[in-house]
Amino acid sequence: MTKKLSHIVTFILLLGLAALFLAPIFIVVINSFKFKFSITDTPFVFPNAETFSGAQNYISGIQQTGFISAFFWSLFITVFSVAAIVIFTSMTAWYIVRVKTFWTNLLYYALVFSMIVPFQMVMFTMSKTANVLGLDNPLGIILIYLGFGAGLSTFMFSGFVKSVPITIEEAATIDGCNTLQTYFLVVFPVLKPTTVTVAILNTMWIWNDYLLPYLVIGNDYKTIPVAVQYLKGGYGSVDMGALMAMLVLSIIPVVIFYLTSQKYIIKGVAAGAVKG
């Protein structure tokens, strides 16, 4: 009986905490439907007949920030960077594990080393390099993400490749596969659990990344975080209504992504933390 009671108490406690966790997002949503001058003064009040602004904040926010194009640039850069990272770093990891030379070892340790270097260390020189090489556009930044994300991703893939039995590769070779066929038809499918983890971790990083796209492709091709920050930084007084609407629009894709692939995200994050 006491056990049942303690379960009910825990349940109610958790319910309260869950409400507290969701409250900030809820508050932003209700404020996105109020006129800008009633946001700063009374953020915790529901909109009423006088303060309800309809979709006005959304329209002006989208116009001021170019949110629609920002969404598509974010999507473009995230999808292709993650695809490039998954394909190329898994190939590199397999090569490094299977071909043991001084040079592959050196590359492996250089990649592992890059994981502990904070972005600020290379921020200035990297954006200059990207500029000089003409990589300061949405295609070039994919190469930058591949290079900067290579450390963690190669490290995670090579951890898994070590546990893949070499006999299945030998069998494929005997059956007449060349190296490329062996890799893509036999090895790559086996790596799937790590592929999912690597893809999730990189998606979360690149989609939300602010400073790297801001410095490399700047205001010419705004991604969502850059567009939101532009609204705040670009004007003397901030249009709070537009800001609230843009916050809501930035959260919606993330929530959809989360709810559709929650299982993989939570698994991937836990696996990534343990390995990284």
Binding site: V28, S114, I116, F119, M121, F124, Y183, S250, I266, A273
Partner: protein, 280 residues
């Protein structure tokens, strides 16, 4: 496998080229430039350790940022880990709706730092307005604002790792303890905590490195206001680079020091986890 070797251009070259351009060359160039004075890379002149001396001497900003970052990191690490551990304990008690709660607590972790900063700016300013303040009126508002934000973002993440750790605690030992009449705290401190020690190490370092490297949230929440008092290391480095002309070398020197601090934390973690593995 000799046959693989000739596939180097396909398997390694794309990653290697990208890695050289995005990381290795900028890293080496950055080390070199920290010993020079420059505005563009081409006009660098060697100045020895001058930039490193300047980083500390030229103003108090860097030391302030360092001290603020250390205080922030310690406070966040302690609060996040305690709350996350309690939540993990509650969620492993086979209560109805566990999955739903886990989903809710983890969600803020997926929201980007810039967006998080503005969400909390609205809320904190809304609360402080009742007392006639705003988040930029006093350093301590910005400090605790960042701590609350970081807790909201990281608790769910850390909780997931603790849940994974807790579910591997052997149930027969827990039941044996119950039969022997061990109370809640005895079980917690003698059995549960020792057996989730690996998770605790991971979570401590995860939260400490994330706190040290925080940038987006800092920029969006206070941008260092009032008067740069709430600037953390990453933001101070950014402003040294892009805020004042002629200080690029000093900015790069600060970045090298920042790198050394973060690397030292990472190496400590490596040594500690290695030692644990040997003991087991």
């Amino acid at each position: 496998m000799k046959s693989i070797k000739k596939y180097f251009p396909v398997f390694v070259l794309p990653t290697l080229l990208a890695f050289l351009i995005a990381f290795l060359i900028p890293f080496i160039l950055g080390l070199y430039l920290s010993f020079t004075e420059f505005t563009t890379v081409e006009n660098a002149t060697f100045v020895g350790f001058n930039n490193y001396i300047q980083a500390f001497k030229e103003s108090d900003d860097f030391l302030n940022a360092l001290w603020f970052t250390i205080r922030f990191a310690l406070t966040s690490v302690i609060t996040i880990n305690i709350f996350a551990f309690i939540l993990a304990l509650l969620l492993t008690r086979k209560i109805w709706g566990t999955n739903l709660f886990r989903t809710v607590f983890f969600m803020p972790n997926l929201i980007g730092g810039i967006v998080l900063g503005y969400i909390w700016q609205l809320i904190i300013n809304g609360v402080l307005l009742n007392y006639g303040y705003s988040i930029t009126s006093d350093e301590k508002f910005g400090f605790w604002g960042l701590v609350v934000l970081m807790n909201w973002q990281m608790i769910g993440y850390v909780m997931i790792i603790y849940i994974a750790g807790l579910s591997s605690v052997p149930t027969d030992i827990l039941e044996a303890a119950k039969v022997d009449g061990a109370g809640f705290f005895t079980t917690l401190f003698r059995i549960i905590i020792p057996s989730v020690m690996p998770s605790i190490t991971i979570c401590l370092f995860l939260t400490i490195t994330n706190s040290f490297k925080l940038f987006d949230q800092n920029l969006a929440l206070t941008a260092g206001a009032p008067g740069g008092r709430t600037k953390m290391l990453a933001l101070d480095i950014y402003e040294t680079f892009y805020g004042k002309i002629g200080y690029e070398g000093v900015g790069q020197a600060k970045a090298v020091i920042f790198f050394l601090i973060v690397a030292a934390i990472a190496l400590t973690q490596l040594v500690l986890t290695r030692r644990k593995e040997v003991e087991q």
